[in-house]
Symmetry: C2
Subunit: 284 residues, 2 copies
């Protein structure tokens, strides 16, 4: 990555760990910290991380790029804490699934000029260093929020993500959080809700077909991480949940009335959106 | 397939077409009918189907096995119509996603003694002859409902499904429809409901991540087929939809109150069920 010789990655989970692997493969010297000592030991043992950050994040002052890859509720206090230390940083990014809070927090610190909010659209229900892997970001979209960052910092963020194979695009923090409430946060809530219905009915997971199995996979994601996301994007997620509930009301009503024409219209509209969206996806 | 030389397959969609392919590969002579002439032409052209059934299903009287692979609303009238013709049949099966109606209809006909309700847990959102393929049933569970069939007919049904690589297991029609309301029918409804939320919010399908994409894939399934399934299993599906709505109520309430402890409990319970079920799945 042009002009980044040393990167500090704080949080070696699925996202931070995978980014550390890709950066190390590009010849970047990676320093790291994680609440879980064993993850850092493993990363050092595998030769991905050169050295653990010291107490109070000492060593972070040597990094040209700092990556904050911790749950979204921990990212704002963390950026406030490390900002005064990032004396050599040309770029500080986070990787969380919500952007408003972290961008607001970072913009009030010493790294405001070089903080770019980032959200790689990668990963799945797995988490932790053991789930991290090379190439996780290949072909993945990455949302970038410029906020108070300079054009140089934004360009550096583009460079970093392109170097690991991702497709960066800029968006405002507000638009990001509204969009993701529907495209990502609501599907996670729906998957967990479905799992609880099956649990309450005494159904075993092995009784699911491939379609049902795909629908409950997200329910295996980290509860703490998703609670933090919901807390941070509460209003937009609540609106999305209420919209989904209204669609289920429509179905329950149609079934009550025996209104199969309305039910067929419901399925037709859902399919229409899927296939139109697929077409426009191919065109773009 | 032991002692089945000729099979008649009515409906050359994903399920009927795939079964026709597997039976032909086993050396069974396959006769077929479909509302769509081109599907039968294609199947004959590919050498899968030897001959089209004639007007009024003439030719079906030569078949030792008859497969009814049409949408669940069309299966009961079809079995009533062809039952008097199935003079040589040792086994008549359907392949639909609901079992009560078809089993009740068949049990009142001339084929009651040899009709076994069948539901292969295979396939996806695709449909039609063009989606059919060899080996679709390899490793798939197949639910079998004995109803009024003799032990010989039930054994023949086990044989036929094992011959195409499936794992048959018996269940009552009532238990089947209750179970599938939650494991299959509800996930389809939830996927379509999610698609409609995204559609209403102006979201494009390409804005989905891999998790969201998995959650809306089922919404592409055939509206007519799924309306028929919902009509046939209306009460159980309505109950399941109401249960899912109640889970969404819980989430919306927790978000309204800012009760993140309850939200985390919600995600924990969902994950607990997923991982417990996975463990018991591996043990079994």
């Amino acid at each position: 990555v042009s002009s980044i010789r040393t990167a500090a990655v704080i949080g070696l989970g699925l996202i931070g760990g995978s980014l550390a692997r890709d950066l190390a493969a590009l010849g970047v010297r990676v320093l790291a910290a994680d609440r879980d000592d064993e993850s850092v030991d493993a990363a050092v043992g595998e030769g991905i991380v050169e050295r653990r950050l010291g107490a109070g994040f000492s060593g972070v002052e040597t990094a040209e790029a700092v990556v904050i890859a911790v749950p979204v509720d921990q990212a704002p206090p963390l950026v406030e804490r490390i900002a005064p230390l990032c004396r050599n940083a040309r770029l500080v990014i986070d990787t969380g699934s919500t952007k408003r809070s972290i961008v607001a927090a970072a913009s009030a610190t010493e790294v405001a000029h070089c903080f770019v909010g980032a959200h790689p659209y990668a990963g799945d229900h797995r988490s932790g260093w053991s789930a991290s892997r090379r190439g996780l970001f290949t072909g993945a979209r990455v949302f970038l929020v410029q906020a108070s960052a300079t054009e140089e910092a934004l360009a550096a963020a583009h460079d970093l993500w392109r170097a690991v194979g991702a497709l960066p695009e800029t968006i405002s923090a507000e638009d990001h959080d509204e969009l993701l409430a529907r495209t990502s946060h609501l599907p996670h809530v729906a998957s967990s809700a479905l799992a609880l219905v099956l649990s309450a009915a005494g159904v075993s997971r092995r009784d699911l077909g491939s379609g049902g199995e795909a629908m409950i996979r997200l329910a295996a994601a980290s509860p703490a991480m998703w609670t933090a996301i919901c807390a941070d994007n509460r209003v937009a997620i609540r609106d999305a949940v209420v919209s989904l509930r209204a669609q289920l009301d429509r179905v329950a009503g149609a079934l009550d009335r025996g209104d199969m024409a309305d039910l067929e219209a419901f399925f037709e509209e859902g399919r229409g959106w899927s296939s139109q969206a697929e077409r426009s996806g191919r065109d773009s």
